[in-house]
């Protein structure tokens, strides 16, 4: 668990201090300070690959931290988290290889570690599963699902295949998050309060940091069903996404995954 000095303050909200990064990286604290100029130009594609690389590493770091912080949770859940570490490491390598193919390099652009900074503040594993797996990674399923046909249409078949493969892995991460969240809250009703508190906390972070997380794209019902969401949960998420889209638009596939 975090110790004194492990936090930073961003726009009045206390967040977890960034994970270790090499000096070649410029670290910023808000997503909109990370360069993002679409997926059409070479520069935009490099920026995206660079963001994906850091995002996958960040998600690896979150899964690894759960193994460290919660040694007493059921072994099968630890196995899922350990497997996720490997998956995210592979995804990060794929993103890095893609970045290099595009002529980019590590540290080419600024990075933000807002997912880590948010999730690593939570002291309860059910809360982390609710925010990281059910919210962040489930949102990524939607964006990945939309990005595959978009990339194919643009002629980026290799990248499309990579995103499709990543989505297949991410479905399992969201699925085990859903399954274990249900099991843990059923076994320990107090965990529901921790989850509710975490959701309130996330809203506060999103408001303070510019609402980046609200800029999701249309919900993918197919992938969410595979990932263990119920029909009513999918409908709820879909209506939230539509409400968010009314106020802002964003490019499909340009969000976060891990």
């Amino acid at each position: 668990m975090r110790a004194a000095g492990d936090t930073k303050v961003v726009r009045g909200v206390e967040l977890r201090r960034d994970p270790a990064r090499e000096p070649c990286f410029e670290i910023v604290h808000l997503h909109h300070d990370v360069p993002e100029s679409g997926s059409v130009t070479l520069e935009g594609r490099r920026q995206r690959a660079h963001r994906e690389y850091n995002q996958e590493v960040q998600t690896l770091e979150i899964a690894a931290l759960c193994l460290v912080d919660f040694p007493d949770v059921p072994w099968q859940l630890r196995m899922e988290l350990a497997r996720q570490c490997w998956d995210e490491a592979r995804h990060a390598q794929m993103a890095y290889d893609h970045l290099k193919e595009l002529g980019g390099w590590k540290g080419m652009y600024a990075i933000a570690n807002l997912d880590w900074a948010t999730v690593a503040m939570l002291d309860s594993l059910p809360a982390r599963l609710a925010i990281q797996h059910r919210t962040f990674e489930a949102g990524s399923l939607d964006s990945e699902h939309a990005s595959v046909p978009m990339l194919k249409e643009m002629g980026h078949h290799g990248h499309a295949e990579m995103m499709d493969a990543i989505e297949a892995d991410e479905i399992q991460h969201v699925r085990f998050g859903n399954e274990w969240l249900k099991r843990l809250t059923a076994a320990q009703p107090r965990a529901l309060l921790e989850v509710a508190s975490a959701v309130t906390w996330l809203r506060r972070v999103v408001e303070a940091t510019g609402g980046d997380r609200l800029k999701e794209i249309a919900t993918s019902s197919d992938t969410r069903e595979l990932a263990g969401f119920s029909e009513s949960e999918i409908t709820q998420v879909d209506s939230m996404a539509r409400a968010a889209l009314r106020s802002t638009t964003t490019e499909p596939g340009a969000t976060h995954h891990g």
């Binding site: 994970p19 090499e22 590493v57 690896l60 072994w75 570490c85 880590w116």
Partner: protein, 184 residues
């Protein structure tokens, strides 16, 4: 011939060590700055978890609880904790990939020499499969350090001393006592 109790004691202790190694690797992921190192550890966390899981299934077959762990000798627990507390990445990699993992593999090879390969065949299979994995794990760590010389230790004396220290330690606690209960 090793008794069922002795075999269970070894397997459960080895499970403890691999869970401990998995946790150390996990702790080093966010705290090691080098991206390549994070990815290496991320892969090997899963390898360690799988081996611990196989050992934990075997404990059940040896009249212990499913996913049962036994604490090694206190000096060995201290040794693992000291390794886990190392800060600089080159030392971390050297401690893990030149000392801890090869040493644990060596203890498993020694066990294979002692145990009856027919009576204890299920354990033998688990350990032999793991030793194949260990070769891949160590190769990957060596390859990374060849590729990124900044991750190499400047001299081999530190590793030699640590290897010597490990070799002098008892691994098993004296008596097969109470284990660390783990919910399966």
């Amino acid at each position: 011939m090793l008794t069922v109790k002795e075999r269970g004691h070894f397997v459960a202790t080895m499970r403890y060590a691999h869970v401990s190694v998995m946790e150390t690797m996990a702790a080093w992921v966010p705290t090691s700055p080098e991206m390549e190192v994070k990815l290496l550890l991320g892969e090997h966390i899963w390898d360690m978890a799988q081996h611990a899981d196989s050992l934990g299934k075997r404990t059940y077959e040896l009249r212990l609880a499913l996913q049962h762990s036994v604490r090694p000798a206190e000096s060995y627990v201290d040794f693992l904790a000291e390794a886990s507390a190392i800060g600089p990445t080159p030392q971390r990699l050297a401690a893990m990939y030149d000392v801890v993992i090869p040493a644990l593999a060596g203890r498993q090879r020694h066990y294979l020499e002692q145990t009856d390969r027919l009576v204890d065949a299920p354990t033998v299979r688990i350990l032999e499969r793991y030793l194949v994995d260990v070769a891949r794990i160590l190769d990957a760590a060596h390859a990374l350090r060849r590729e990124l010389p900044a991750l190499q230790m400047p001299d081999g004396q530190w590793v030699t001393a640590l290897l010597g220290r490990e070799a002098a330690l008892e691994f098993l606690a004296t008596a097969p006592t109470a284990g660390v209960a783990v919910e399966a």
